[in-house]
């Protein structure tokens, strides 16, 4: 359909986190040689997939020029929903666990999209409010306790199984990324997404149905968050309160250090993959080094700032 495009999937900015990953591995291995082991590295791939899926959905929304702050509770909600269905013991319901969770994610995404596209509420505020409502629903539903339920064998396999030596979760993540990259590059929807991210008014005037694109993008993000929740539930074999909260900021960070502009239009999934890998590895190494919470936070923040400043320097040099 579209033969030649000028958005190359791999730009220098999107490669930076990969260099960071390599740097981390090399530096870390001086202190802890076990970092270079296959076991450790594949475990990183497995864990990175959880953050990675969330970041993938977030990238779609950020390319649009918006932001999705409902990630924590869509994730948790999907986990609760799927484990509850499995927990009923009914085989039919168990089979529905994963599809239901995905449908839940899509539904919340649609609600997000409608508020943003139709009511024109800033996405930061509306997705925050939606997050709040989901939190309320969850509290009401679970009574404040940890939700009862369990994960299905499928969910566990998705999270912890492997295939030809690579973790399933990682393969699923990469598959989702590949599919979405194809959509971004080869379909009108993907083109509209970036155009709206750069200039919604001009896109609208060119006859793009901006509300549809916005709703679809948020729905995709919702499904990614839901899938992440399902996998995390598979990993922990249950859902638990506030399992989603620690993920919000690293998700956005992963997208941004991968070279995607927070303003929209520019960037892509290749960089996000690198960003998620980098953050997962960084978190893991800091934990292996037994660095306390305090310094972990400080180092995390400083490194993100450094990478952003580097991006600015590059832009300045390019001019």
């Amino acid at each position: 359909m579209i033969t030649r495009t000028s958005t190359r999937a791999v730009t220098f900015d999107s490669l930076v986190p990969y260099f960071g990953v390599i740097a981390l591995i090399i530096a870390g291995s001086f202190f802890f040689p076990q970092i270079l082991s296959v076991d450790y590295l594949t475990q990183q791939l497995q864990i990175a997939a959880f953050l990675g899926l969330l970041a993938t959905g977030a990238t779609i929304v950020i390319l649009l020029g918006h932001i999705d702050l409902s990630v924590p509770w869509v994730l948790t909600g999907a986990a609760i929903l799927s484990t509850a269905l499995v927990g009923t013991g009914n085989p039919m319901l168990s089979a529905l666990a994963v599809p239901a969770a995905l449908a839940f994610g899509a539904l919340i995404g649609l609600i997000n999209g409608l508020g943003v596209a139709v009511l024109r509420i800033p996405s930061m505020v509306w997705t925050l409010a939606v997050n709040s409502m989901l939190l309320g629903l969850a509290v009401l539903n679970t009574g404040g306790f940890n939700p009862r339920g369990e994960s299905s064998p499928l969910m566990v396999a998705m999270a912890s199984g492997d295939f030809l030596g690579l973790p399933f979760s990682f393969l699923i993540w990469i598959a989702v990324c590949s599919g979405l990259t194809w959509v971004l590059v080869r379909t009108p929807f993907g083109r509209y997404l970036r155009s709206i991210g750069f200039n919604e008014k001009a896109a609208f005037l060119s006859g793009v149905s901006t509300p549809s694109v916005v709703c679809a993008a948020f729905a995709i993000a919702g499904m990614c968050s839901a899938l992440g929740g399902v996998m995390l539930a598979g990993y922990a074999n249950q859902a638990y309160q506030s399992m989603g909260d620690p993920f919000l900021l690293p998700t956005i960070a992963a997208v941004v250090i991968g070279g995607t502009s927070i303003l929209g239009g520019r960037g892509g999934l290749f960089g996000t993959i690198g960003g998620a890998l980098f953050i997962t590895l960084l978190t893991s190494i800091l934990s292996v080094m037994q660095i306390g919470d305090a310094w972990r936070n400080i180092i995390f923040g400083v490194i993100i700032l450094a990478m952003l400043l580097f991006q600015t320097l590059r832009k300045g040099a390019a001019q």
Binding site: I67, L69, G115, V118, L119, R120, I121, P122, M124, V125, W126, L128, A129, V130, S132, M133, L134, L135, G136, L137, V139, L140, G143, G144, E200, K201, F204, L205, D245, L249, I252, A253, V256, I262, L263, G292, D293, A294, W295, R296, N297, I298, I299, F300, G301, V302, I304, L305, L308, L309, Q311, T312, K315, G316
Partner: protein, 320 residues
């Protein structure tokens, strides 16, 4: 008077809503409209209110500050060390606490202006740093604040909660005069149209630096007042305040695109949020359902605020 009302219709609506809510709250509270009830309410409101003021300064110049909560945590932990001892020491301690907030804000501003990075991303990263520093100071909640001082700040003065007096001071002694300075108006000009502000001879970089620094000052004040209320330092208080401060300013009529709204609106929004939460608490709605109701009300209020966009007759108006 009517002109003022027309120009600031969002704040007027917010203020009206607040009065209605407060009346309902005092009416339904089992202990009624007593100083005691008002004081507890006012203290909670002021903490969020100061955080909302901080957010206001970032938002009015078309930015956002995701480090508000973290700065509060940091300044709160600093306060838990400095606010106990001799009166002179305590006085200097208070200055140091607010100063720390100002430094945090200045750091944000410097990176935004000179690093040319979007505020949302900068403050996301600095929040992490500030929380880390707070954890260094107080790995677990602890510390102390001089009780007399804390009482003075969090009880009442002649029957009026001190927190409300402080709010009045902020509005009348700071905001109203500030609104009439070049810097005050410059904030709006910058948020409205950076190009127009520049062409009018405004130093946009300085104004932006000042905006983020002021945000840090108010976040520091929020952390300071928090320490009066709890008399301990706690590094974990951040996340709720950051997101609530955003909700508060939006409820109070401050537009996220910048150039619109006022400090009064931010305060009103915060007070409304806290009053709703308090109302929930005493309303007899089962505690398990309260977060959901709060979320619904927040969503509803925001949706109503957004719905006036549906009245826009020119479809292009919604794109800014």
């Amino acid at each position: 008077m009517l002109d003022y009302a027309k120009s600031n219709r969002r704040e007027v609506i917010a203020a009206a809503v607040l009065i209605v809510l407060l009346t309902i709250y005092l009416g339904t509270h089992p202990r009624g409209a007593s100083t005691y009830v008002m004081t507890i309410w006012a203290n909670q409101c002021l903490i969020l209110g100061l955080a909302a003021c901080a957010q206001f300064f970032a938002v009015v110049v078309r930015g956002i500050d995701l480090s508000v909560g973290a700065v509060m945590a940091l300044t709160n932990t600093i306060a838990s060390y400095l606010l106990d001892g001799s009166p002179a020491g305590i006085a200097m301690g208070m200055v140091a606490v607010v100063g720390a907030g100002a430094l945090c804000g200045l750091l944000n501003g410097v990176i935004v202006v000179f690093g040319r990075i979007q505020p949302i991303v900068v403050t996301l990263a600095t929040a992490s740093v500030f929380v880390g520093l707070a954890l260094l100071l107080r790995p677990t909640p602890g510390g102390a604040v001089n009780y007399d001082l804390a009482d003075a700040m969090t009880l009442d003065v002649l029957g009026i909660p001190t927190a409300l007096v402080i709010t009045a001071v902020v509005v009348f002694a700071f905001w109203l005069p500030f609104r009439r300075t070049g810097l005050g108006l410059g904030l709006y000009a910058l948020g409205s149209s950076e190009q127009a502000a520049f062409q009018s001879g405004i130093d946009t970089r300085l104004v932006r630096l000042a905006a983020f620094t002021l945000a840090g000052v108010f976040a520091g004040l929020a952390g300071l007042f928090y320490s009066f209320v709890t008399t301990t330092g706690d590094a974990g208080i951040g996340p709720g305040f950051t997101l609530n401060s955003i909700a508060a300013v939006v409820l109070g009529g401050v537009l996220l695109r910048g150039g619109v709204g006022s400090l009064v609106g931010a305060l009103a929004g915060a007070f409304i949020l806290k009053t709703i939460a308090s109302l929930m608490f005493f309303s007899g709605i089962p505690s398990l359902a309260q977060p959901l109701f709060e979320g619904l009300i927040l969503a509803g209020a925001i949706a109503i605020g957004g719905a006036d966009v549906l009245r826009a007759r020119n479809k292009l108006e919604v794109f800014k």
